[in-house]
Symmetry: C2
Subunit: 601 residues, 2 copies
Amino acid sequence: MAEIFVSMRNLNFLLYEVLNTESLCTLPYFSDHDRDIFDMILETGLALASEELYPALASMDKKAPVLESGSVRVSPVVRELLQACGEGGWIGAGASFQHGGQQLPDTLLSAVRLILGAANYSASVYPVLSTGAAQLICSFGSQELIDAYVPNMFAGLWQGTMAMTEPHAGSSLTDLKTRATPTKRGYYLLAGQKIFISCGEHDGVENVVNLMLARIEGAPAGVKGISLFVVPKLRPTTGSGLEPNDVVCTGIYHKLGYRGAPITQLEMGEHSDCRAWLVGEENHGLRYMFQMMNEARVGVGLGATAIATAAYYASLEYTKERHQGRPIMAKEPTAPQVPIIEHADVKRMLLFQRAVVEGSLSLIMYCSKLIDQVHAGPEEGRERHALLLDFLTPIAKTYPSEMGILAVSTGLQCLGGYGYCDEFPLEQYYRDARIHPIHEGTTGIQGMDLLGRKVTMKNGAAFKLFLGKVQQSIENAKKHEALQAECTQLSDALVQLQNVTGELLNLAAAGKTDLFLADATLYLEYVGIITMAWQWLLQATVAEAALANCDDEADKNFYLGKRTTCHYFFRYELPKCSALATRLLQTDGLTVKMDVGLFED
Amino acid sequence: MAEIFVSMRNLNFLLYEVLNTESLCTLPYFSDHDRDIFDMILETGLALASEELYPALASMDKKAPVLESGSVRVSPVVRELLQACGEGGWIGAGASFQHGGQQLPDTLLSAVRLILGAANYSASVYPVLSTGAAQLICSFGSQELIDAYVPNMFAGLWQGTMAMTEPHAGSSLTDLKTRATPTKRGYYLLAGQKIFISCGEHDGVENVVNLMLARIEGAPAGVKGISLFVVPKLRPTTGSGLEPNDVVCTGIYHKLGYRGAPITQLEMGEHSDCRAWLVGEENHGLRYMFQMMNEARVGVGLGATAIATAAYYASLEYTKERHQGRPIMAKEPTAPQVPIIEHADVKRMLLFQRAVVEGSLSLIMYCSKLIDQVHAGPEEGRERHALLLDFLTPIAKTYPSEMGILAVSTGLQCLGGYGYCDEFPLEQYYRDARIHPIHEGTTGIQGMDLLGRKVTMKNGAAFKLFLGKVQQSIENAKKHEALQAECTQLSDALVQLQNVTGELLNLAAAGKTDLFLADATLYLEYVGIITMAWQWLLQATVAEAALANCDDEADKNFYLGKRTTCHYFFRYELPKCSALATRLLQTDGLTVKMDVGLFED
């Protein structure tokens, strides 16, 4: 087991030096808080992670959940964790005082989520799911629903879930079939099947509250006919008891990784007695769900970053301790071997991991601050912040997910044969990390979202906002000698990005939507790299300013490490944009036109 | 379970249409054979793979080997397989008649190994290891050693292994410590420990014959003092019996994947009674081992390709059957959903896999033909073929290993959530594939080998030979209309490759070896992509010629599929070279100069 799984120094850097999180306390919503409170919360989060979650990392993986006569047995750690999260106020930490929350900024809470996720990703999912589901009820549900469900969810006694996917409707939500029949008793009767529902059933809680999409009888076809319901496993009786609600867990999946959390199949209404309570208005379900979904997508990026963070520190520790080989310039077989971190190729592998991990985290926490500003910032900035957040969401979901896998794989590689064995946690991280490009919308879906929706929306307003932000960061960086080349490089990349985007938009304008979107996944990768370069320039600018007045040796190393990693990113990663631009500019529709018969053998 | 795990059509294409394998039968060594025999062997191999290996794929993964009081229990399939391989003559198939072999060309046998590896990689490793170890004895051992060990290894009764790694000598073989003390009785007494020894102990055979590196007392330091020994688990007694040889299996590794084969720790000489027989001359061990190692490295590339092949066909099958979403140009929620293979992004993912899989296989079988030509071809060509093979070996090991992982990952992605679950084989392939950039020399080691050794050896003769071969393929391709753009693109890439290599060699000439080799891993990736482009051009040239006279619909689809995949490679993959060239030309030594203290937090 590695000793370190997260860097508090880096979290403090992002929170206070880059994002100026304490400034959020000037907003009325957050005005009860200050940096002392933030620091205390970080400390408590780290203690929970170190003492409860991290020690259970391997055991929760090896003893995966088991389904026994409709009940899913999970690690006893889950119940302890959810109770601790309930008592500590973690689950409702971001919710309003009115709903029983603590009104803490998401910027801070994302740092806590990173700590918990780095310690044990599977475990960290349970409370986060409850947070999201409860917030949906708070945002769109009636006071009755809020009173009936939210307090127990915030207390960690009831599990919240997000139930969308069905056997024939995975990426294609338009094809949802689960049916809700109105009754005259204030609820609907639900019938259908859901698959891939995270934590849809387990014995770490008394009850499960599914936020479920379904189609009310007679609703329009497609996504315009989808409504959102609260569908509990046990429903409250007229007294204060609970009774079964005809929701049955019919299966759990045996997965590559992420094994500490059960992914379930649920069957509703087998006995025509599954009651569902409508959240908000009929047929607005997808819009409601997507409020949660956007934050869930940034959350996936955060989970991916968390795993890659832990993998980075585990491999860093190993490379300092493992002695193998000698310096290239002084090869003398009788000289002692050196720690492998001394080898240039190992430093390259560590820099790659660090670039992905700290760049991703920077972007995610930047998005969290946007969430705070949309939610509680001054009225006049909200639309702008919401637009930028919309634009960045598919990137914040995908870059960390896709590149996090490669970062973890590189961490594993640093350990050689040992990386492939379960004496070290890398092999588990490698398995755990692979979920992220899949859940909450695959990478392909995110690409279509970015190019097909976010780039074009409001006449390109979000895209322009993004370009403006990057441009502004370049201006700020220009005064630092060490970042001159990077400023030029990123400026050039922005020009190229506008050319590429312009060419693609011409296709859209000509009605060639299929060609326009053919390589949307590559476009997402392309914009992702530029976004990371921007985040690295942001961080390096802060580091350069700090270096000017820095006496502390450890601080100096930290800031010089930021500079070097920024240089690494611009020299090794940003050049990849040119290859992607080359392809994106071809617009020959190779994949659109290819006859699928050519795959026959 | 997918129905198809390998394409015989593609193997036939490579064997007979691209590589003209039957022409090898004009060489005296192979003159007993003809295409009918080859076809029969392929058929038998496919039957063995389909009937024995493939059905055991999941069970061998789930029931991993167990160590019990020194003995490793493996799946009963292993014993059956080794016996079938022994009886069918598979293990010694490439060896000379004199040694009990069948003198079959490696080009053909590599096709068989692909079939077996695609069916069940773990299972396929057992016989291949025996082949390699037995061939080492045949090549360099005394007649006594050959008689004592080889027949039982070829018969599948005894397992062969390659035992190099020690706790403090993984990548750094120079630091091997296992000690051999001469005796006057024709053998040495061995003492030491080996780790990560594939199949070093298991109950599927009567005996294990380790080909082991050790240092004879008083030998020079470093790699010049390493000798090769036969160290059996049980040694032949003066009668015809066997007795224990003081070799103990002290542990097995619990691994991410590749679980059907045990990776063992061996302890020799605990009771000062471990006898070892020298192979060839003292202190020449590494050179001998590297004869086997080079073929083993191409073999790793083949194993990686085999797994990626099976993953490709499994995902192809799924994408044809899974209905989800609708065509972009005709989105109508009430229209039926289409098979996901119809979506451009899914076709892109399949083309990526196919490009990696069939490109890698083409390179590997090209190398196998070089092995045949070195071994049995006319004298005057041998040095040239050996040089080209030396140059291509690190590429044939690494491109399939590194890109195979991404191909399998892409296959997994095609299945969405199901790809992450063990109902489908993709998650196992994903785990199995991760071993290949590690064993038989990590990717970092291969990079140093290519740039530091192969590019420079004999005044760049191998590199020039490589350039010449690619140039010649471009000339051959030029007559085909459909390959014009590809010819230009690859010519340009060759020019750039020479520039980049020239710049790097300037550093070497200036004595800056550390800067020269700093990004050797990237150089390997760079040359790997160009090599693949070459192999695709080779294949596409054959396909274009065949298309000119093709009436059969299935053949036409196959050749057009080759053309399209070649186009895919040149448009999506080859452009990645420019980013790598950009970095390689910087030679700023970022990773060489970076102080490791900057990684401190």
